[in-house]
Every structure is written in C-alpha cells, then in structure tokens.
C-alpha cells in the first residue's frame, strides 16, 4: 500500500471511532449503556442491523465465492424478508412491551429460569466463537499487505473495537455503524465501477456478465430440490427463513440492535428496511465477484490466491513441481484468454451456433486451468496436510491490492476493517448484555446498585473482547470463513428458535417440557451436523421443528402448576 492509502485508511478509522465516541455521550446507567436509552430512529436501527450482519467476512468471502462458485450464494438470503415480517408481527411488540434487555429474559417470564439460562448459555458459546472469526477475517488483510503475522493485526482490530464499545456502549456502536455503512456502500460502488473500467476496451459490463454466465457463474436461482445442495431456492427460502428468524429473533447481537428503537414502530421500520435492502446488497457484492472473475479471464490471476500457502510450498522440497505447474498454468491461461476473446467476438456476431461453439472451446480451456490449479492444491496438501486449500477469501483482496488506484485501496481496506468493527462491536455489546443481565444480575448478584451493573457491563465487554481476540488467533486454519460462521450458527439457532416459537405460539407447553426438548434437540443436531446427514442450512429448520414436536409430545408428562408460573420483572 502507498502512503496515500495508509493516510486514507488511518483517517477513515480515526474519524469513525472519534465520531462514535463523541455522539455516544456519557452513559449514566445500564439502560443507556446497553440499550442506548431506547431512543434510536428507524434508519439508525436499520443500518445498525445491517452492519451487524454484514461483517468483514461478507466483503471478503462473498466476491471470492461468486468468483469460484457463481451467484447462487444469494439464495441463502431469500428467507430474510419473510423472517423480518414475522419478527415485526410477533417478536418486536412483545419484547418492547416487556421492556426486556435481552431476548432470553422473556423466556423466564414465559417458562422458567433454567430455560432462560440454557438459551443464554447457547448464545454465549455461539456468539463468542463466531465473533473470533469476525475479528480474524480482516486481520488477514493487513497480514497479506504488510507481510506481518496475523497476531498483530488481530490484536489491533480487537483493541480498537473494545475501546469504543467499552467507552460509549451501544450508542457508540450504533453511531459508528451509521457512518460505517455509508462509507461501505460508497466504497463498494466505486470498486464495482472500477472493475468494469479495468476490463478490456471491447468488454463492457454486459459482455463481462455474459462471459461469466457462459462459464456457469450466473446461476442465481436453482429450482432443483436437493437436501444435500447448500444453495438452492428451497434451502434459501425454508432453511434460510428459519436461520434468519433465529438469528434476528433470538440472537442478542441483533435483538439488542432493534430494541434500541424508540418505539415498536421505529424498530419495525428498521427491520423492514433490512428486509428490502439486504438481498439487493448481497446480490451487488456477489456481482462484484463476477466482474472480478470476468476481469481475470483477460489478466492472469495467481494460480493460488493465498500467498502464504504458496510461499510455504515454494520453500519446500515440492518447489520444482509447483514451479512447473505455474508454467503450465501460464500457458493454459493464455489459451483460455484467447478462447474468452473468441467468445466475446462471437457475442458481437449474435450467431447462436458460433457462440455455442466458442463457449464449448472456452469450457475446455477453463477446465484445463482448473485441473492444473487442483493439482497445485494437491501438492500443497502433500507438503502440509493442514495447508488451507481454499483461497476464496483472498480473491477480492488480490484484485484490490494489485489493480485499484491509490487511495481507493486504502478505502477498500478501511471498509473491510469497518465491517468487521461494526459486527464485532454489536457482538461484544450483546455478549456483555447477556452475561450481565441474564447471569450476573439475575443469578449471581441480584440486588446490586445500578452503578455496579454499569461497571459489570463494561468489565464484561472487556472480558468478551479478550476471549474473542483469543479465538481469532486460533481461526487461521478454518477454510471458508463465511460458511464456517453460518454452519456454527445452524448448530444452535434452530434449537433456540424452537424454544421461542413454543413460547410465542404454544401457550400450553410448560418450562420443563421445553427445557428437555431443547437439550435433546441440541444433542441430535450436533450428531446430524457432525455426520453431515443434511446440508447445514436445514439444521435450523430441523432443530426448530424437533424442539416443538418433543416439547408438545412430553408436555402432558409434566403436571400444570396450580398457581401458574411466576412472572418475574426484568
């Protein structure tokens, strides 16, 4: 990176942190620290919800995923708008009415303390682990650019987020996210425009997309129902609906965001904003990946995008073999390039037979480069069985650092940082809320002063910050980060959602039944997930349905309390 890029990066980060801290003011009690005094407008809520979900992983992995696997990943989000509607109708009014700090607090009102404790515990495990990944993702950027260990970059990002989250609480999180999302939209727009600009003169946006389509990358919708296929319309609509409903309805990092809304209406409008914008946003991010794919049909990409793994194999006894493959790859690329150019020319003729012929030739050439790449990954694995053979996260990075102009590289890198900071800040805030409200305040120290809880919240934020940074340091050997985080969520979200669905809709089911159902379901889901019986998106639906069925089935075994269950205010 040039000096200009460093200045842009530092200035962007500095301005945002200062703005967040300045706007957050002084937090006098736990309500202000954790809920921002419940005073946010709908656009704050909406952008905050989007920033929490759109982590750095979104901007790193998604274009890379489109590059290697096409557009079909967008189907993952198809269940989201429907989930937003259900949330607006059911969850939001109840959470607002009860004035809860956390979603799990409601479960004690409805069931009992042990169900509240179980769901809080599941949340803390899931969120604590996945936040580590959220911090790790952007740290690989700096390590790639500066050639330094990811440990230092992870520590830098972690400390920055811990600082403003501890200082300003949830208001600092929301205000920084507002600015973060604006800069992210702006930066991604420029990136998209520049990729098109960098394409060869005779290849515009339309032809680039057509070219990618001819190589199977414009596979946005897949109607075929296949439970083993991760991304098709059915897994997206049904599995995705359950995942998004669980994430937004029961994950405190999101519940905490829309509970900052000044009223039920403001929270609802924020969620609807997310329902309307999320899919187009994700589509456009993937489209950038498609354009990068088209760009690399004319400019030779590295055979493998992760420079670290390449250096490892090049400094081993397999070096000669790998170098030979690189030479073969260069030749194969030139052949593929000429076939791509032939296809572009065929597009101009509008002759379908000629286009089909050029497409077949290109597919053969493309397969040749893919096979050489696979062979290279095989050599990496031979050299080191633990080598990461998935370079999806490095594709977009490679493009940004090699081909974007000065200044914009700094801005794009800042975006990755900002995205990570936004979602990490929300996660730390929610981990602190759950630890303090559901565990410390409820179980350990119920009668302490408000000042005590405020201090405990700050301390809990620091504690979880340190834990998540620790997790991030162990994340380097996980393949595709985005999928890993989603898989992790699917192991737990379905169970928690099942508990909430029973709480909202099945009034006769009691605490003991739902508690046992949740424990049994979690064990079953872990077994199904471990043996990969179905694609992970389906685990959400299976988990939710299992909890409901078991709870309803065993409920008659538990006698109803005569005086009804105790309702405890928050």
């Amino acid at each position: 990176m040039s000096l200009t890029d460093w200045i842009v990066l530092a200035a962007t980060l500095l301005v945002i942190v200062i703005y967040g801290v300045w706007k957050s003011g002084i937090n006098k009690n736990i309500d202000q620290f954790l809920m921002g005094g419940r005073s946010m407008r709908w656009y704050h809520v909406g952008l905050s919800v989007m920033a929490t979900q759109a982590s750095a992983i979104t901007f790193l992995s998604a274009p890379g995923q489109a590059y290697s696997d096409g557009m079909r990943f967008v189907q993952f989000y198809l269940g989201l708008p429907v989930a937003m509607i259900v949330l607006c109708v059911t969850f939001v009014p109840i959470f607002h009415k009860l004035k809860v700090y956390t979603a799990y607090e409601f479960l004690e009102n409805r069931f009992d303390l042990k169900t509240r404790a179980l769901t809080s515990f599941l949340f803390l495990i899931q969120r604590g682990l996945s936040t580590g990944i959220t911090i790790y993702a952007p740290s690989i950027i700096l390590s790639t650019i500066l050639n330094i260990n990811t440990v230092y970059t992870t520590l830098f990002i972690g400390s920055l987020v811990i600082f403003y989250t501890v200082y300003g609480g949830t208001k600092a999180v929301s205000y920084t996210q507002l600015l973060q999302m604006s800069i992210i939209f702006l930066g991604m727009f420029f990136a998209g425009v520049l990729v098109v600009h960098l394409l060869p003169g005779n290849v515009g946006f339309g032809k680039a997309v057509k070219l990618a389509g001819k190589l199977g990358r414009m596979n946005v919708i897949d109607w075929k129902f296949d439970p083993d296929n991760r991304y098709n319309i059915w897994s997206g609509l049904i599995g995705g609906f359950f995942l998004q409903l669980s994430y937004f309805g029961t994950d405190q990092s999101q519940v905490g965001r829309y509970l900052t809304g000044s009223s039920v209406g403001q929270s609802r409008m924020g969620l609807i904003m997310n329902g309307l914008l999320k899919i187009p946003m994700q589509f456009l991010i993937l489209l950038i990946g498609i354009l990068v794919f088209a760009f690399y049909q004319f400019k030779r990409p590295p055979m493998f995008f992760n420079r670290y793994e390449v250096e490892q194999v090049k400094s081993s006894s397999y070096s000669a073999q790998y170098n030979k493959l690189e030479t073969q790859y260069a030749t194969a690329f030139e052949q593929r390039k000429s076939k791509s150019e032939a296809l572009i020319k065929a597009f101009d003729t509008k002759d379908q037979a000629q286009i089909a012929q050029a497409q077949s030739a290109l597919k053969v050439a493309d397969k040749q480069t893919t096979d050489i790449r696979k062979e290279a990954i095989g050599i990496m694995k031979k050299n080191n069985a633990k080598a990461n053979g998935d370079d999806t996260n490095y594709v977009f990075l490679n493009f940004v650092t090699h081909y974007l102009p000065r200044g914009l590289i700094g801005l794009l890198v800042a975006i990755i940082f900002l995205a990570s900071m936004g979602s990490t800040a929300s996660a730390l805030n929610s981990l602190a809320s759950t630890s303090v409200v559901d565990i410390y305040k409820r179980i350990i120290n119920p009668d302490a002063s408000d000042k005590n809880y405020l201090d405990a919240s700050r301390l809990a934020t620091v504690f979880w910050g340190v834990v998540c940074v620790g997790m991030a340091l162990y994340a380097s050997k996980v393949g595709n980060l985005l999928e890993f985080v989603n898989q992790l969520g699917s192991y737990i979200y379905g169970t928690i959602l099942g508990v909430f669905v029973v709480a909202f809709y099945l009034k006769k089911v009691r605490g003991n039944a739902v508690f046992i159902a949740a424990v049994v379901t979690e064990i079953v889901i872990c077994i199904l997930g471990y043996f990969e019986v179905v694609a992970y998106l389906w685990l959400n639906a299976i988990g939710c349905i299992l909890v409901i069925l078991i709870a309803v089935g065993i409920n008659p075994l538990f006698p109803q309390k005569v005086a009804g269950q105790k309702v405890r205010p928050s």
């Binding site: 429907v82 509607i85 607006c88 059911t90 389509g213 946005v220 209406g265 329902g275 309307l276």
Partner: protein, 47 residues
C-alpha cells in the same frame, strides 16, 4: 388470525403513503417475489 389481529391497527409512525402495517408487509413480500423473478430471468438469460 393471530398474526392479522396483531397488526390491523393503523400506526401514526408509518410513512404517509402506507396505510397499515399489513400493507407494508405485503410490499416486502411482493418485493421478494419480484427479486426471485428477476433472478430467475438473469439465470435463464445468461445460461
């Protein structure tokens, strides 16, 4: 009925061009259908 009953009351916080929350939810659902249709068109057009 439970779902519909919960959202039937007009809300002054709604934008002026939206009459009820139900209408707002309908717009979101319609938007999803439109997006799926556009995505399907893209898939078959660029095959």
């Amino acid at each position: 009925m439970y779902l519909l009953g919960a959202v039937a009351t007009p809300d002054p916080e709604l934008p002026s061009f939206i009459r009820s929350w139900n209408q707002f939810y309908g717009i979101v659902a319609g938007w999803l259908v439109l997006l799926i249709f556009i995505f399907w068109l893209i898939t078959i057009l660029f095959e």
